[in-house]
């Protein structure tokens, strides 16, 4: 039986959005598995980041030059994980501004594509590589009262993007899979609710009430799934969307 952690030892991994939250947990987990990790983020580097490149994924040119800098560190890239996603502003669709919509599309959707392009340019000549994208349960299901149509749209779009790229690059030895988490207690969620703790706790109570496993995910809980999908243990898995949501998306009221 393939040892996931052993298969990642010595591998070169890029974690986009690895400065905080789930991304930081994932970067740390790859390092524990013995991978070399370069983090790309628009925020400042965290304490564990020895190799860090600054870039805003919404800007294709910045993504290109970020990966050019990664080339100075890695002569081969084996695995790329893109955890970047913003929550955007909650608000009625009929009043959404052009800048709010396009910012969401640029970061949550187009940014994923630029990262995939740069990853594939380096993986295709080797005939080997894996990419893990991040979406959300919101791509499948709407949460009652949570008005962010643009977020739901971009998250569904990322799922389809991952499938289309899996179809296209599979013959060249590159796998692409997507993780779509449900509720989790990280900073992005706090931003989504404008740091309104009371509303957030009410929201959490409802979310937990509807979740078979009775809680939200912790930031570090997505890392094992990410490592698995990136690794050779998932060598025949591609084009999939996996939803670690504690079962929240299953039911209807």
């Amino acid at each position: 039986m393939l040892d996931i952690l052993q298969s990642l030892s010595g591998r070169n991994v890029v974690v986009v959005g690895g400065a905080r939250g789930m991304g930081a947990e994932i970067a740390a987990s790859f390092r524990e598995a013995g991978s070399q990790v370069v983090v790309i983020d628009r925020l400042e580097s965290g304490p564990g980041d020895t190799d860090f490149v600054h870039a805003d994924v919404a800007d294709a040119a910045q993504v290109r030059s970020a990966f050019d800098k990664v080339d100075d560190v890695f002569d081969t890239i084996h695995h790329v994980v893109n955890t970047v996603g913003v929550a955007g502003e909650v608000g009625p669709a009929e009043l959404m501004s052009a800048s709010e919509w396009s910012s969401m599309v640029d970061i949550n959707l187009s940014g994923q594509f630029w990262v995939c392009q740069e990853a594939a340019k380096r993986m295709l000549p080797n005939g080997y590589g894996s990419i893990v994208l991040f979406s959300s349960l919101a791509g499948h299901r709407c949460v009652r009262g949570q008005r962010h149509a643009h977020y739901n749209a971009t998250k569904a779009a990322v799922m389809a993007l991952g499938q289309a790229l899996a179809q296209e690059w599979g013959p060249h030895g590159i796998r692409v899979n997507t993780i779509a988490p449900g509720s989790h207690s990280t900073e992005i969620v706090r931003e989504m609710w404008n740091h309104d703790e009371e509303a957030l706790n009410r929201r959490y109570a409802k979310a937990i009430g509807g979740t078979p496993l009775g809680r939200v995910a912790r930031a570090e809980e997505v890392a094992p799934l990410t490592l698995f999908l990136a690794s050779d243990a998932a060598a025949f898995i591609t084009g999939q969307v996996i939803v670690p949501d504690g079962g929240r998306g299953l039911g209807f009221d």
Partner: protein, 259 residues
Amino acid sequence: MINSPNSLAGGSVLVVGGARGLGAAVVRGLVGVGAQVAVIDHESDAVEGLDVTAGVALVRADLRDQQALAKAYEEVDQLLPPPRAVINAVALPSGDEASVEMTESTWRGQVDVNLTGIFWSCQQAGQRMLRRGGGSIVNFSSLSGIQVSRTHRSAPYHAAKAGVNALTRALAAEWGDRGIRVNAVAPGAFVGAAPAGLHGGDEERRRQDDARLATSVPLRRLGVPDELVATVLFLASDDSSYTTGETLVVDGGRVVEID
């Protein structure tokens, strides 16, 4: 043949992207059931296959631009009562494009029309229907929003159309309590409706593609445009009054099977 008058007769309906192709077929179908129709489109001065005496107003606009589309809707406001239905027959076709070489402008071109453009139209329609107290929006999605095409690579087209499906659900959830329904159709292959760029202008390739589909699709033929129009009219009218947030696939069973 579209049967029977329904709740659309005598009411106003707007078709965005209604100048050509399947959108124009929807316009003709709506005129046929007695709706008052206006069209917003980015090009063309007339609706394909429709006599000018049919009285369908056509307003030009680039739907990628929120302000331009808002102005176009305001022009339509001067011509018709607030629409009871809006059909977003928007599907900018892609060619067969490799993702690793794709330029930013190709990516954006697809997303800006097929996802963003539909959102702006839904926003304009939603504003009017919220004031009016109800209405029905029908978005054109695609088989590519559900599965991956083996014959036409376009990552942004697939992404945008899956985005349209989620947008359809989100808007249905947001506006449902105020009488607005939002649904989508995902068309398969229809006779005479292959998008212009799909086969790169190569007639022989189009013929071969049609022939392949006619023998492989479970219903063993391409669709006839009226068959899609019937579904659009069903979703636009009160015949579907308890259906919202859905994407109806009209493809002769094409996505059901694999080799």
